[in-house]
């Protein structure tokens, strides 16, 4: 081969190589999105079929709900108290100082109820149960247990993915409601004890509830259910997608965690933009 030909070859390939460099991650990302969309649609579709809810699937659902919901409850309650001290009390105090107590309800609804609470609960549940999904399903996928399930005639999707995803969605919704209530009450009582609040409890709660329009009543369940659903899907898909990838827990856990957090943020932002 001549030197001229040797130089010409890389020059010809450079644009293709550039295209491949850009295209590869785009394709991977698109493939990942399609996988999640397909998996999500399958969960919704299969969940509506009553015969799929066999007692083994129901037992997995109850177990996942206990782990994600009851297991995360102490953390969520503590976080609610702390956020109540940090945010609700501050809002009560500064709006009182500024003479803008009329804005109290709106501020708390926009910041706490619509944005902070679903996101924070989503992040807590990722740490509390998302990691459990990654670990459990990763072990099953990497080990002979996946084969065992198939040998028993049990569809791993129905037994592992469907109950965990739905339980997580329901848990995030319930925990967010509790979180909001605890944060509001802890903020109010802290303000009362420190003499910074001049309004009664019922008046305070009334202002918050009046500031919640129909869009908020729609947004909170929609956002929380979607966050829980997305986190469950992302964790399950990350763990089950490939047996080879699931072997390495040191990569699987951080990968699943980062993807779950991103999914949480994406749905938080998306739902807030729409509603």
């Amino acid at each position: 081969m001549t030197s001229a030909a040797g130089e010409a070859t890389p020059r010809r390939r450079t644009p293709l190589r550039l295209l491949a460099t850009v295209g590869r991650p785009v394709l991977i990302f698109a493939h990942w999105l399609l996988l999640l969309a397909g998996l999500g649609a399958a969960v919704v579709l299969e969940a509506t079929r009553l015969p799929n809810w066999r007692r083994t699937v129901r037992a997995e659902f109850h177990r996942a709900l206990a782990l994600a919901g009851v297991g995360s409850l102490p953390t969520v309650l503590i976080a609610g108290v702390l956020l109540g001290l940090a945010m609700v009390y501050q809002a009560l105090y500064w709006l009182e100082v500024a003479g803008q107590t009329d804005l109290l309800g709106s501020v708390l609804v926009i910041v706490l109820v619509r944005e902070v609470a679903p996101l924070l609960v989503g992040l807590i549940v990722i740490g509390r149960f998302g990691s459990v999904i990654l670990l459990e399903l990763g072990r099953i996928r990497a080990g002979p247990q996946y084969h065992l399930l198939r040998g028993l005639g049990i569809d791993p999707f129905l037994f592992l993915v469907l109950p965990r995803t739905l339980a997580l969605a329901l848990a995030v919704f319930c925990l967010t409601v509790l979180f909001v209530v605890v944060a509001l009450l802890s903020g109010y009582f802290t303000g009362s004890l420190l003499g910074a609040v001049q309004i009664g409890l019922w008046d305070f709660l009334d202002r918050v509830l009046r500031a919640m329009g129909p869009d908020t009543y729609l947004l909170v369940p929609l956002k929380t259910l979607m966050i829980g659903f997305a986190v469950g899907l992302v964790c399950a898909a990350t763990a089950l997608r490939s047996a080879a990838a699931a072997v390495d827990m040191t990569r699987l856990l951080p990968t699943g965690y980062v993807r779950s957090v991103l999914a949480c943020l994406v749905f938080t932002g998306a739902v807030s933009m729409v509603l």
Partner: protein, 234 residues
Amino acid sequence: MSGEGLSVLALDSARFPLEQEGGLCPPMDLVLRRGDFVLIEVGTAERGTAIADACAGLSPLRGGTATFQGRAWSAMAPAYADAMRGRIGRTYVAEVWLEHLSVRDNVLLGQLHHTRSDAAALTEQAARLARRFGLPGLPLGYPRDLPWEDERRAALVRALIGEPALLLLESPTRGSFAELGEALINAVGQARDRGAAVLWLTTNANLWADASLPATRRYRLVGGVLVAARRMAA
């Protein structure tokens, strides 16, 4: 008892993926009818697993057909094949358990999933089987807490619970034949009396030749070919 009635498992010119791609893979014919007890010496555990997987429709054949209760695995829809696998009791070479479930839940999992049998009745049946295999009862703890010997016993209970139509036993006693052999032979005999067919795959030549095993047919896997031994009365 054997040789008559419906075929439970039929291999018709089945070419198993016994060796790596390109390896020797001759066609195999075998029919298990209700009550049959076929014992095969497979040479290596991997070959036994490959045969058991193909018989359970878990891995595709390289040729031919594997038929379970009159239907080819390859022609079944996935959900239907899953339901059919619920009729197979199986032991594995290595102990395999779902770690997040208790031993009891692991043992009952298949039956609870595929049948509407009363959970208490299943638990009672599992406890009876467990006692037959030398356990004090059905273990309630987690698999990680069980000693190896008890894991093996619990795995036998999982394979035998319910009324399986086919028992796929991959080295079911694995070094514990002296302790478990008699109980297993009795349990297998009862399953056969109910109409189950049994495919026992072993890597142990001595066990294969043991006359105390009431096999209706014995084969050796030689170079991928099933070679029949003399027929023995069940």
